[in-house]
């Protein structure tokens, strides 16, 4: 599949329910896209080494073990993936966490809502914006 027709999106998310919501949002898009899910930062780092290219990374910052910024810094130093947009979609939106992620090079920061509809809308907007409106 050509990257122009099917966009690969890396979703770093350990919650099954939240990943399902992301999948719901992706399904609404007119553009076909493929979600690659990893559950831990270690797996996310490993995904960078597979040779697969991603149009977008959606990062849940509230993962067990390492914080998302570790992955983010590795990505920004990566010879291939450094320009891939990374959007944080996470449960806690406290200022220190936002600061850490922005300092590490996150492109935008979104806080998860309890409302399914709201999360769906947020994710649709994220996907539409980053996959269609932003040039490579």
């Amino acid at each position: 599949m050509s990257p122009h027709t099917t966009a690969s999106i890396l979703v770093v998310e350990d919650s099954d329910e939240d990943f399902d919501t992301t999948a719901d949002a992706a399904a609404q898009l007119p553009v076909p896209c493929a979600l690659v899910r990893v559950l831990t930062i270690d797996d996310a780092l490993a995904a960078l080494k597979t040779g697969q290219q991603f149009r977008l990374v959606i990062l849940d910052n509230s993962l067990p073990c390492d914080e998302g910024h570790v992955f983010l810094r590795a990505l920004r130093r990566h010879p291939v993936h450094w320009r891939t947009p990374v959007v944080a979609f996470t449960a806690s939106g406290r200022q220190p966490e936002r600061d850490v992620l922005y300092a590490a090079g996150v492109n935008s920061f979104h806080v998860k809502s309890v409302s399914y509809e709201e999360n769906l809308w947020t994710l649709e907007t994220i996907l539409t914006y980053w996959l269609r409106a932003v040039a490579d």
Binding site: D14, S15, D16, E17, D18, D20, T21, L39, T40, S62, P64, C65, A91, S92, R94, K112, S113, V114, S115, Y116, E117, N119
Partner: protein, 783 residues
Amino acid sequence: MAVVLNDAPWSTEPYSIQRHGVEITSCDSEPVQTPGCIQSHGVLVAFRLVDLSVLQVSENAGRLLGVDAHYLLGKPLTALLGEAGARRLQVFLTSEPVDRNPLYWRTLTLGEVPAAFHLIVHSNDQVGLLELEPAEPDAADPDYYSLVKKSMVRLQAARGVHEFCQIACDEVRQLTGLDRVLAYYFHEDGSGEVIAEARREELHSWLGLHYPAHDIPQPAREIFKRTWIRPLPDASRALAEMVPLANPDNGRGLDMTYCSLRGASVMYTEYLRNMNVAASLTMSIRHAGSLWGLIAGHHGTATPFSWQLRAACELLAQTVSLQLASVEAREHECYGARMQAVHLATLARVARDGDLSKLVDPEPSLLEGIHCGGAAVYHQDKWSTVGSVPGPSELTELAAWLRPRVSSAATPQPLFATDRLAEAYPAAAEYANAASGVLAVPLSKTARDLVLWFRPAITSTVSWAGNPTESPTVPGPHGPRLTPRASFALWQESVQGRALPWTTAEREAALYLRTLIMDLVVGRVEDLTAVNAELASSNAELDAFAYVASHDLKEPLRGIHRHAALLKQEIQAGRTLDAQAIARLETVTRLTVRMDGLLDALLHFSRVGRLELQPHLEDLNAILTESIEMLGTLAADARCAIRIPRPLPRVLGDRVRIREVFTNLISNGIKYNDKAERWVEVGYIAPDESTELPLASDTPTVRSQTIYYVRDNGIGIAVKHRAQVFGIFKRLHRRDAFGGGSGAGLTIARRLVERHGGLLWLTSAVGEGSTFYFTLTAAEPEA
């Protein structure tokens, strides 16, 4: 400096103002008690007490009495007073207390002139003194007695020293009708300050004028300690010399200390002329044997001071002196009480908040206690200040300099006080305006913590405008030096870099504050600091709870919301309750259970922080058995062996809590294990066993205790994750891996061990297994 007396021109013959005079440099040695001259409006006769024969007479006797001075010398007083007069004088001398105490005797017409004279009589060291002052014709003196009585009543109403002196000035001016009446106060260094003033309206104020100590030379001060009043009705009138200058009986100049006719030093009369003052009347204010100050009356024109007026002023001066003591005592008392009230109020705040920095918070702060321009407190490595103080780095350097000076080894009183800091500590010159004076007390033996009070330079707080136009256009022979302006300038120079001195009461207040802080507060502050630290840590934990609530508790909620929303959509779209819908409902149920588990863990952790331990001597083997039972089928299901190499010792601890530590550690060992043959070993290392262990906390203090361990052959924990495993709700693995779990187990285990006073730590090799070690007693402090 003062000229050595032997070099003075009058060292070879008795002094005479007219013959010798003085210069500015020698006025401190001027023999003002034996000036050799009198004010020439009266006549002075000195006579031998034993036979009433005349020893010395002022040279103006001929002019005023028509009897030549030389004629009288050696003659009995009958030559002047007649037989009857001399007899009456003899009676007066023996019946009245005239020794060093001038008394009005009578008014007489004497000699060849018809004018009447008031006769004042006193004696001093075998010499009788007769002062003859022309009686003013038709002078109807007011009722001085009533006037002075009223003045006394007014003085009694004064509430403070300044008000008291103000009333004194007002009363003296009312009594005398002089143009200006000033109250001088002599500071500890001898310098004078105008603290009260009553004057004709059109005159410029001298209030706030300061002058250096030598403006009133020491000999003059000595006289003011002995006499109450010093009249100078006409400063520009010529002097009359005594004939002869020396007492023929002893060869010395006549002691005129108590004579109202005593001639004034040319320095003084020149000063008065430079101020356009023609007449002056000065009263002393004495306190506890020393000269506290003066009340000085000035008049633009020459004015006679009758003996009645002088007597009234003398009485007033004595009253003022007597009452001043009580006014001053009352003021000191009020000041002392205020300092203490302020200090206690600030201390109450300190005690309440457990923070010494509250000493400088308004209101009141230390600023309202001891008079100062600023105050600083150094406590717990930080400065807290109020008012005008040096900068933080300057304070720190100053504190380093002060510490050895206030430490108990250096000084009997743990206090340092100076009113001229820069003289001892030159760096302080930079901030002399804020801190020319410093009062410091240490709050501990090492003087690490300090309380400092600062006083500004006097020159920055005192301003005296004076009035340039009042300066004489043509000053006297000694030039402009003898003017208030020059005096003020000299005084300013003399107090450069100086602050007002710290009084005994202020030092005592500072020491008392120190005692209170150390005895009552420091201990309490330490307690409170510990409590606050605990509060801060439990606040941090609360914060972590809130974080978790927003984080982990919302995660299942989002899932519930998601499935409920989707289910609703699907039903609205006409879909029936099919298998997918059932699956959604099952997920919702599962998520509520997970959330319940998280809430339980949270509540439990919060309880662990609060609960009171119930320590008893317990058999650890029994506790271990119980905890394995509580794990139920966990070990069996995982086919995990629990090994206990040897029986465990007895231990002092809380049975339920220790059981929980074992449960948490053993269940982790079982769960985080991917081996075919899993095992968990529980054992201990006795203090005397030199087992080789790669202990993270392998210190002598830990080594002196029994160390318990739970070891497994599980997956191990990478070095970078070893701190994280103890964080609440931190999991190293995804939620459902290794049997799930809330992520609070190790946090709670560590907390429980710490509540026992022990430590919990681990060693691990990835892929090979982990060992968790813990102790259950507080480590003995190292010897």
